[in-house]
């Protein structure tokens, strides 16, 4: 069989049903085989979005998404999407065509060193040099991208490899991984001792909580040890936010109650998080008063950003179960005083963000989304202030999913990710919450959505500015607004209509519920363009490089600095 046929057969063997891609000269044999295969191919309008769609698909199904691009510009266009997936540990398999091995290295037409380009942003990549390697590499690639910490992998597939014959022996050969992932639970007893001794434990859940889908176990642990649960941006949605112990996101734009509780406890049980600067604030100030138990699937994360931790290495599901088993027979204190104090903080932070203004306020939009999105909705976001409003106010209840680009912060991620998510879960309502700046980076994918009958909704918070940058320039650059004014164009309603989609413009807050409900009824992709008040700031904000004590609160914030409850826990030496 031909190399290209073997590729398709390997994809089918791995259970791939959808591939996102864009053809080109160097992957024509592969596309010829896809023509006759059962794999559904979604033609994108830009390769970057193929990677984002595969990413969104993977985040919903927790199994690899596949994207395909040609050599040269196809490969370079994929880079942003793959780097996004790498930073958020999302399993995608990227396949790029490549010029034939005979001319490789000669600056042939559409040749770029894709292998070298991708190397720093993938878990592993391969350049296949003979057709017999195709089956082994593909099996290995799918194994690597979901073994241990998830991550993208890349396969560079030269033209002649796609055309050459693959021997039957190579196809039949079984793949056996050379390396076995190590668990390290040697400090489990230390961790249990810390948890027992703690008077005020807090559980911090990161993206690992979502990838391992162990929300139920985490809540059991929280209930057992009497600890409130806070999440990072990537961990948002790993535990249902309507649970009384779940306080919400911490970090730069997190909830005050979550950030304050994290700093006030005496033990942090960190589950699947890498202590990003966006969630910890100033690292030297973080965790000074606390003991830290750090659970991560990736041994290199333990002690990377925050030192002196008790590290447990392993899949979150396994480790949390080990902790549960270890703690089960012990007489744990109920920690009622601590939970009472946290409960009082939670009340102090429970603002009513049903804000009214002459222009629509962004918080109001999120408030309406909370009310009107179904309980199994998927909300994706782009990057910017709208993302932070969503992080802060959106309620990821049981069954809802929140997808965002946290690590790389890729503007334009949300819309293609929403398309990928809708393809992964056609029965669920998928909405992309966008800003006008971000959406313009990838709005060409309306064509993809419309052509493929992928009925996602897009809600644009339109302020005519690159709002996040505008806000930073306002707060820290003496209101010197450099290159942030996007002007009045384009008309998003007309853009959507030009692509055969439906759209409405909302200028009064009273029209929001109808628009949101209409987007759920539509038979085509639906866009809601909401003109928001551009002067509304995204607050609270923890200034970059500052600690949790220096958070700037918003004018309507009712947080009193946790004063309603006295006696902070004394610091441990």
């Amino acid at each position: 069989m031909k190399g290209a046929r073997a590729v398709v057969q390997m994809l089918e063997e791995q259970g791939v049903t959808v591939a996102f891609g864009h053809p080109g000269g160097a992957c024509l044999p592969l596309y010829d085989e896809l023509y006759a295969s059962k794999i559904r191919h979604v033609l994108v309008r830009h390769e970057q979005n193929a990677a984002h769609m595969a990413d969104g698909y993977a985040r919903v199904l927790k199994r690899p998404g596949v994207c395909i691009a040609t050599s040269g510009p196809g490969a370079t266009n994929l880079v942003t999407g793959i780097a996004t997936a790498y930073m958020d540990s999302s399993p995608i398999v990227a396949i790029t065509g490549q010029v034939a091995t005979s001319v490789m290295g000669n600056d042939a037409f559409q040749e770029v060193d894709a292998f070298g380009l991708m190397m720093p942003i993938v878990k592993h990549n391969w350049r296949i040099e003979k057709a017999d390697d195709v089956p082994r590499v593909f099996r290995e690639a799918f194994h690597v991208c979901t073994d241990g910490r998830f991550g993208p992998v890349h396969i560079d597939l030269p033209l002649d490899v796609q055309r050459d014959e693959v021997s039957d022996a190579a196809v039949k050969a079984k793949y056996a991984p050379r390396k076995v992932r190590k668990k390290d639970l040697s400090r489990l007893l230390d961790a249990i001792k810390f948890i027992e001794e703690a008077e005020a434990p807090v559980i911090l859940v990161g993206g690992g909580g979502r990838w391992s889908t162990s929300g139920a176990e985490i809540l059991r642990l929280a209930e057992m040890i009497g600890a409130p649960v806070v999440t990072t941006l990537m961990g948002k949605g790993s535990v249902p936010e309507d649970h009384p112990l779940v306080l919400g996101p911490v970090g730069m734009h997190g909830k005050m109650v979550a950030t304050h509780t994290l700093g006030a406890g005496d033990l942090i049980v960190a589950l699947g998080t890498r202590f990003s600067d966006r969630s910890t604030g100033k690292l030297s100030e973080f965790g000074k008063q606390q003991r830290i138990v750090h659970v991560d699937i990736d041994s290199s994360e333990v002690g990377k950003n925050v030192q002196h931790v008790v590290g447990l290495v392993g899949d979150l599901y396994t480790v949390v179960h080990a902790l549960l088993a270890g703690l089960e027979r012990r007489a744990l204190s109920k920690r009622t005083p601590w939970l009472d104090r946290v409960g009082a903080w939670k009340r102090e932070c429970a603002c009513d963000f049903d804000y009214h203004g002459a222009k629509v306020l962004p918080q109001k939009i999120i408030w309406e989304l909370n009310r009107h999105l179904p309980d199994d909705a998927i909300l994706t976001t782009e990057v910017g202030r709208h993302q932070m409003w969503a992080e802060h106010f959106f309620d990821v209840r049981q069954g809802r999913t929140f997808i965002t680009s946290g690590g790389l912060g890729t503007m334009g991620f949300g819309f293609p990710a929403a398309i990928g998510a809708k393809i992964a879960a056609p029965g669920r309502f998928v909405m992309d919450l966008a800003g006008d700046g971000s959406l313009q980076m990838t709005m060409k994918e309306f064509a993809t959505a419309r052509e493929n009958g992928v009925n996602v909704a897009v809600l644009v918070m339109n302020d005519g500015y690159l709002g996040m940058v505008w806000q930073w320039q306002k707060m820290w650059y003496n209101e010197r607004y450099s290159a942030v004014d996007l002007g009045r164009f384009p008309d998003f309603v007309k853009i959507a209509e030009a692509y055969g989609c439906e759209a409405v413009r909302v200028e009064r807050e009273g029209d929001l519920p109808d628009a949101i409900l209409a987007s759920q009824e539509a038979d085509v992709p639906f866009l809601i363009d909401v003109a928001i008040d551009p002067d509304e700031l995204m607050l609270p904000i923890m200034p970059p490089g500052k600690s949790a004590k220096e958070v700037i609160l918003g004018p309507r914030c009712i947080w009193k600095g946790g004063q309603s409850v006295a006696s902070p826990i004394p610091a441990r030496p």
Binding site: M119, P120, H124, K179, D298, S299, S300
Partner: protein, 104 residues
């Protein structure tokens, strides 16, 4: 090799010596890296993450040293403990030299 050195590049840790070659396992290579950088020991876990790397071991500093010297008197090699080699090289004023460190 590129994947391994890329990890050091990204973390801004310089490597003093790289020694790589065939080893007892067929199809595998053993790589010895030596560095005086204080962050060097912490790299073990980061290297383990690299898919091609089968295992990583950290050996503390009783390294063997090796130097090639070229002076007016001709070329010669110096072998010994790292400190001794350094001392010998320092005593050869003005000679061109290259040093390497490693431990097994």
């Amino acid at each position: 090799m590129q994947r391994i050195t890329a990890v050091f590049t990204r973390k801004r840790i310089s490597i003093d010596t790289i020694l790589a070659g065939r080893c007892e396992k067929e199809g595998c290579a053993r790589v010895l890296l030596a560095s005086r950088d204080p962050g060097f020991p912490k790299m073990v876990e980061h290297l383990r993450r690299v898919h091609d790397v089968l295992d990583v071991e950290y050996i503390e500093d009783d390294a063997e040293g090796f130097a090639l010297l070229r002076s007016a008197a001709g070329r010669r090699a110096v072998v010994g403990k790292a400190g001794e080699v350094d001392a010998k090289v320092a005593s050869e004023d003005g000679a061109s030299y290259v040093t390497a460190y490693g431990a097994l």
